[in-house]
Amino acid sequence: MSLSIDDVRRIAHLARIRVGEDEAVQYQSQLNGVFDLIARMQAVDTAGVAPMAHARDLFQRLRADAVTEPNRREAFQAVAPQVAGGFYLVPKVIE
């Protein structure tokens, strides 16, 4: 698989990372290097091997359904850029 420069721009946009023209060319070649590596791994026969969802061969531990967190709004909002009436404020977004 080979990424086009447009693929790189699209991924950068989806990840909300600003990437300049020169950088895009550089990332294109670096990402293609990663994809080459993946292509080599995909050549391995994995028929009959269950896919792993996690690198550790363990299962999730669960917590009991209980309210354990106190209200720490004041502490959290002290470091927020802008708040009003208990809300976090962000630049206006409407779909």
Binding site: R10, L14, A15, R16, A53, H54, A55, R56, L58, F59, Q60, R61, L62, R63, A64, D65, A66, V67, T68, E69, N71, R72, R73, F76, Q77, Q82, A84, G85, G86, F87, Y88, L89, V90, P91, K92, V93, I94, E95
Partner: protein, 477 residues
């Protein structure tokens, strides 16, 4: 030209846990903004999610209730997108390996049953809420809802009309509240529907679908689908192709409008969340949950037909919610003489009508199951005719009080003294000589007129069957 409608629903049900799916913050509705959003919910750097056992258990209950396959190992994934009500930049959801796959739900459309297949049900976290008004050109974010556990239930495109879609949504609503995994409160957003709608000519492959987002009432679901179907047919008949898109329903105009097309649809770049290990459901746990399952609506519906002799329609209506079904059974069980049909008629007739009119739920009914039992008992022992019982019901509803006290106070007792009834009949016969003559001349209508006169003279308190018998005896004797 004939058209076929194809509908599939995705329903987000908020689970009834006390705490969030990945944090110990409270899920209680209506709290001060951001007072129930802890470090995990606001996505402080370095925090880690810890899965709530209660949320997983709700999903197991649902999977058992619909006869689905419970994936013994299931996986949480990250669904990546940017929106301020989702501070992590991704929603934790389940993509490739959801907790529940398959299963089915039987719905009732008129007196016909139809089975709707389910595709899957997966656990995920809800996002926060955005308020776009009142912040001087800014958007206010409340993260109390962020991290609230949801079970998203996805159906196959098995519904062929808005009516069927609503029947399915109601059946699903009935089921999740029945098994206690969701409180079903649609005003508070605990049960939200997205409808995938397409049209095609019979026999042709599926048409292109548009998805109507966030329908939070059965009425809006029906209106939105009906509008969307008409719109799509109009477009195709005018020679335009349908483009895959997400649309919103405007309940004021009754129209759907485009939110985004497929071209700018999100690319969510799902991948397994490295912060969460796969979830294992062991057999012991599943069996423990199974042991706590109530008798399900489908089973009750069948039992009402075989054991109580009710029609499929009555049985379906009475098992629409757990509260209604329990109320019905409580009255049936405590009546002196078993008569499920009488109870069914009253519960679905007078009681439902009064509740609808007052816009009350059964839980808020001023007439409890015990009170209704007492009233119906008075029909069974002959104290009240059906008509008088309705008058007593009316007083119980508006003024409250015990049926017996109301019967005594308002003098609504049915006349059972046949001497008294006979005296009134004699008076009526004397005053209506013409009708008597007509009857003797062979006019049956005249007989009914006489019965009517007697009922009127007794202010409806005579037993109509008794009046009939006595009157006929007198006229022909």
């Amino acid at each position: 030209m004939q058209w076929e409608t194809v509908i599939g629903l995705e329903v987000h049900t908020q689970l009834t846990t006390k705490s969030k799916i990945f944090s110990g913050a409270s899920t209680a509705f209506g709290a001060e903004p951001n007072s129930q959003a802890c470090g995990i919910d606001v996505a402080l750097p370095g925090v880690l999610p810890v899965l709530n056992r209660g949320a997983v258990e709700c999903a197991i209950r649902f999977g058992l209730a619909i006869g689905g396959k419970l994936n013994r190992v299931n996986v949480f994934d990250r669904k990546n997108y940017f929106y301020p009500d989702l501070p992590k930049g991704y929603q934790i959801s389940q993509f490739e390996t959801p907790i529940v796959e398959g299963g089915a739900l039987t719905i009732q459309v008129g007196d016909r049953e139809k089975t709707i297949r389910l595709t899957r049900a997966h656990l995920e976290e809800d996002a926060g809420k955005s308020l776009h008004e009142g912040f001087h050109g800014m958007t206010g974010i409340d993260l109390n809802r962020a991290g609230t556990p949801l079970l998203e239930i996805v159906s196959e495109p098995d519904m062929g009309s808005a009516t069927e879609a609503v029947a399915y949504a109601k059946a699903l609503h009935g089921l999740v509240t029945w098994i206690g995994t969701c409180d079903g409160n649609m005003q508070e957003g605990s049960f939200r529907c997205d409808a995938n709608v397409s049209v095609r000519r019979p026999g042709e492959p599926l048409g292109t679908r548009r998805e109507i987002k966030n329908l939070n009432s059965f009425r809006f679901l029906e209106q939105a689908i009906n509008y969307e179907v008409r719109w799509q047919i109009g477009e195709i008949e005018d020679g335009r192709a349908i483009q895959q898109a997400t649309v919103l329903f405007d309940s004021d105009s009754g129209e759907t409008r485009m939110m985004r097309t497929k071209e700018d649809a999100h690319d969510y770049r799902y991948f397994p969340d490295p912060d969460l290990l796969p979830v294992k459901l062991d057999e012991d746990w599943i069996e423990q949950v199974r042991a706590t399952m109530p008798e399900l609506p489908q089973a009750r519906r069948a039992r009402y037909q075989t054991e109580f002799g009710l029609s499929a329609y009555d049985a379906g209506a009475l098992t629409g919610s757990h509260v209604l079904s329990d109320y019905f059974e409580a009255v049936v069980a405590s009546l002196p003489k078993a008569d499920p049909k009488l109870v069914a008629n009253w519960v679905m007739g007078e009681l439902s009508a009064a509740l609808n009119k007052a816009e009350l739920g059964l839980a808020e009914s001023p007439i409890t199951a015990i009170m209704l039992t007492k009233l119906l008992g008075r029909i069974q022992d002959g104290t009240l005719s059906g008509k008088l019982a309705k008058q007593v019901f009316e007083v119980m509803w508006t003024e409250g009080g015990e049926p017996d006290a109301i019967i005594a106070a308002k003098g609504l007792k049915q006349m059972s003294d046949s001497g008294e009834v006979e005296r009134i009949i004699d008076e009526v016969l004397a005053a209506n000589a013409k009708s008597v003559e007509e009857f003797r001349a062979g006019k049956d209508k005249a007989f009914n007129a006489l019965v009517g006169q007697v009922m009127k003279a007794t202010k409806g308190k005579a037993n109509p069957a008794q009046v009939n018998d006595l009157l006929r005896a007198k006229l022909t004797g």
